[in-house]
Symmetry: C3
Subunit: 196 residues, 3 copies
């Protein structure tokens, strides 16, 4: 029997997450948590079944959880949800698209989603509660800290170190062995040469 999973955040990014979860086929989506105004609405056929206030009850019922809220300016909201749900005893599975490639020599931590056509190459490590978005490339020996969003089509080259809570914009390309401090913000389609 497939396990159920609860999604927290019902915006556009949630749709991409649903697509990955469906393709992976490991979890049945129990429903989505969002703001009170959206209660009863559906996203790709899945109902918004509660708000943040209902988390204690929902986590008790559906243990597995994925934070499907997007992240652009700051990771703060995603971190807060993670901390709260963790205290409530939620489990955070790694969600990996069957169309992504994660090297057997790499490590991906709990609560992270690896989306369609992403690659995580040999000896890379990815922290907790990250978004490795569609077609993002994490090259060999690269370390991605906790709570980062590596956006669509980004290229994080070999040996790069990305501090926690960083947003790495879509299509941005780094030099090898660059270091990005915590809470970094990398502009879309930029060339990343080091700490800004």
């Amino acid at each position: 029997m497939t396990d159920t999973i609860l999604l927290v955040g019902g915006g556009g990014h949630c749709k991409s997450c649903i697509d990955v979860i469906e393709q992976e086929g490991r979890f049945r989506i129990a429903g989505i948590v969002d703001v009170p105004e959206k209660l009863g609405q559906k996203i790709l056929g899945y109902s918004i079944i509660g708000t943040d206030c209902d988390l204690p009850e929902l986590v008790a019922k559906f243990s597995n959880l994925l934070i499907t809220l997007g992240q652009i300016k700051s990771s703060q909201k995603r971190e807060t949800i993670y901390d709260e749900a963790k205290k409530l005893g939620a489990e955070f599975p790694v969600i990996t698209s069957p169309l992504a490639y994660v090297s057997g020599h790499a490590h991906v931590s709990e609560g992270t989603i690896v989306m369609h056509h992403a690659v995580i190459n040999a000896a890379a490590r990815v922290g907790i509660n990250c978004i490795i978005n569609t077609r993002a490339l994490i090259e060999h020996d690269t370390v991605i800290g906790d709570h980062c969003h590596i956006s669509t089509g980004a290229i994080v080259n070999g040996g790069v170190s990305v501090g926690e809570g960083t947003f790495w914009g879509s299509g941005a390309v780094s030099k090898e062995y660059t270091r990005i401090p915590s809470r970094g913000f990398i502009h879309a389609n930029s060339l990343v040469k080091g700490a800004p």
Copy 2:
């Protein structure tokens, strides 16, 4: 028995289209339409069997048609061929590489080719007679109008709206929810922030 398909336009882009059609294996290529000077020449083993003047006869014989003419400066020629062949009763199947991914929550319209390693994500919609070129990424909720060419490796992020007849250059990356007016021209490798 596999159906036959007629290709219109025998340049470089046609070669990539042939590769996709062969990999998909759903259609047998009947031949290619191009200018009179090329009659009898072969492209990857397929003959140029007629010119625009022969379209009435060829459409009657081979009903399925794909416009394999490239598109850079303007979509005009591809639109004209589409309109003429449509009046002649041609069918325009969607051609999708088995190496591409089209979400079950997305919609792609007739006459469009989705090439190797392209992704069309959840809740996206793509119009008629488009080229979604190799490794182009159409993210969630994005709408691509009719007769657009989304070039190789382009990243059209979530919620973007692209007007009909637009050329989106290779590797160009958009911000989310950008709107591109009809007949837009996006330069290769540029960052797209909105209407130019």
Copy 3:
């Protein structure tokens, strides 16, 4: 029984190569050649078993060879190793990731590695001893000379000609039919319009 292969160069790029070789499953890695100081060290579980001085003996023992030394500023070192090992009678198989796509209408020459998610499209030709790195795209009709490194996520569009010994930086995108002279150097994430 699977054949053995010897790797020359034990840096970061070697790890990505090991991952591709393991996924392809065609060769068993016999060991790695690097500098004397690294003798006995292991890379992803494979031992450094010799130095350049041991090449005559090692080539005699393990005939198949892949140059896994990286290439950024110059291809000189990779060319020298190729020439020496060739004289010693080494065989240079093409290594292709099962996650890459090489068109049946394309040709790839000996000693070249085509890494995860790379695409080599119809009528393209790639020379000897090249690195077609993760997610690099070589479009239709493009010719890549010998000893080139096409870096991660690069987009070499249709009909481009790249001279031997060129380094094409990560994420760099070309116009169609551009010509790059021998020993070219293309900056990461740049737009390539022709000879610099």
